[in-house]
Symmetry: C2
Subunit: 355 residues, 2 copies
Amino acid sequence: MGSSRARIAIDAMGGDNAPAAIVTGALQAASELDVDVLLVGDPDKIDSCIKEHQKDANFPNPNQVEIIPADEVVEMHEEPLSALKRKRNASIRVAMELVKKNQAQAIVSAGHSGAAMAAALLHLGRLRGIDRPAIGAIFPTIVPNKSVLILDVGANVDCRPKFLEQFAVMGTIYSQYVLGVEEPRVGLLNIGEEPSKGNDQAVRTHQMLVDNPLVPFFGNAEGRDILSGNFDVIVCDGFAGNVVLKFAEGLGEIVLNILKEELTQGIMGKMGVTLLKPSLKRFKQRVDHVERGGGLLLGVAGICIITHGSSQGPTVYNAIRLAKDAIDHNVLDRMQSQFESPKQLTAVPEPTAES
Amino acid sequence: MGSSRARIAIDAMGGDNAPAAIVTGALQAASELDVDVLLVGDPDKIDSCIKEHQKDANFPNPNQVEIIPADEVVEMHEEPLSALKRKRNASIRVAMELVKKNQAQAIVSAGHSGAAMAAALLHLGRLRGIDRPAIGAIFPTIVPNKSVLILDVGANVDCRPKFLEQFAVMGTIYSQYVLGVEEPRVGLLNIGEEPSKGNDQAVRTHQMLVDNPLVPFFGNAEGRDILSGNFDVIVCDGFAGNVVLKFAEGLGEIVLNILKEELTQGIMGKMGVTLLKPSLKRFKQRVDHVERGGGLLLGVAGICIITHGSSQGPTVYNAIRLAKDAIDHNVLDRMQSQFESPKQLTAVPEPTAES
């Protein structure tokens, strides 16, 4: 990558809290992460959001923040492809173009995920050897400081075994080089541990993963394995993955609500809660998937991070950090070469930062 | 039903903790629930488990407990159909026969769920009008005292829209008459709220549910709606349902573990935890799906409750209580008549006990 700072294109108009939350997260990233942020969208709105932060202690060096005009937005309710065709100046398209033209090395969007996927395919295309890109999401597990990458969580509602096999190869590389797992354990989401479990597709996929030397396959993962920490990567179709993602997303909030209700019964409970406030906050952060930054679009010829539509500043910041990690670890080239001239995972290399 | 006590056949040999945990739960049920329990399995083993409880204060009237001999068991790793054919005297078969011959009104098993499903189909058959029976599971929600029935959670990994429609009709009746929900809200598990979301099958199912006057359909349910309390019944295929079930099952335990780790950091935290022990126990019970009793086999011509293989006494007791509720509310006849001479849900009747 050389010595120049990573440049990251940000769809400033995408998401429920855009552009304010997006700008907040982007400015923090520019200040703390040694990246330049290219904020794509309505210049006036973005500029007034930036002005709100001008007195912040950690306001970044102004030459690390650039505004790229784009006067249209793909709205959440729109059908992605037709909206993209109609809105040629949509922020997500302009941001993708920056990556396409090498003016940015990655894109981050909290907008319509279907539109981000469609725009990525349109402008960047797929990596050679990949049939279908997937959206990956990083979940916390019960093991401290251990997370698990689940893919696909929504891009492909129907999957053929070959797609799932490709997800497994991509997930392995991502787990090693971006998430820093030296020897990732890959699982196939299924309804039982035995190879014979599940429908015909699951059985065939299981066998393909067993046979694939590029995938450190450790068998079927059941629903309980998502949080167990037994796996580093779990592959599944986008339907099951999306259901699990959305189930998990609300969980931190729900658990905390139930807990507060139960905890505040009686005076002893109330005292306990006061003592425990900092712990409960840490707990929520740990359970709450949303804090982690967001989904990764794997398989397109560019680094694309799709965060949740409801993202606030910290989530956007984390998404940008994830993008920077992917750039620093040269993950695209590594994936491409694994599909073009596969290397068996005999000795799993140490992940090394390259920036 | 008359005035005689309900008789419930229990597969005493099924499950990881059989027969001890099964006998424990069954004896408690016989003592507290006004039911007779028929313990099916190895007479010596069952008898010695019963003897362990003979000095318990709440040991039931001995004529409420009967042992029915069966000298074989379908093991967890066995392929259901071939095992059932080979083991003609398997406890699950003998128990089903009791229901078939009207010597019991319901069956409870913690054994191989696939074998229970196969045995139910073999001995009892389906209700007329049902293509595929489903396994239903009751989940807690964030709303106090409100639960949600999810079906299918594992019987049918592939589903046609017609099957899902039948699940919705059965789920509605079960929700009304067994779970006591006056006006159940039914949802279709999907990856977005809009009718156009999901794959072709999801879109077609959505339309069928909109058009079906027997189903109080409130649209697509996303993953986050499983615990939100927005729905009383959610239908899905057995793959997604099983993943969600198993994801949720471990959750109470996992959340509690994370919580304990976070809470016990520092002296203030330790004091807090001591004060909160009773609340944490209540919390776990509320989150922990497993405490609720287990799955319901809906669509077979008999009342069958399938509990988790790891069930302990309290879970078995709850499963028997669920079976008794289903008997008391005459749920089989109600389902059958809804498929034979459908009545629109214009005025939702009050659930009434009939025992």
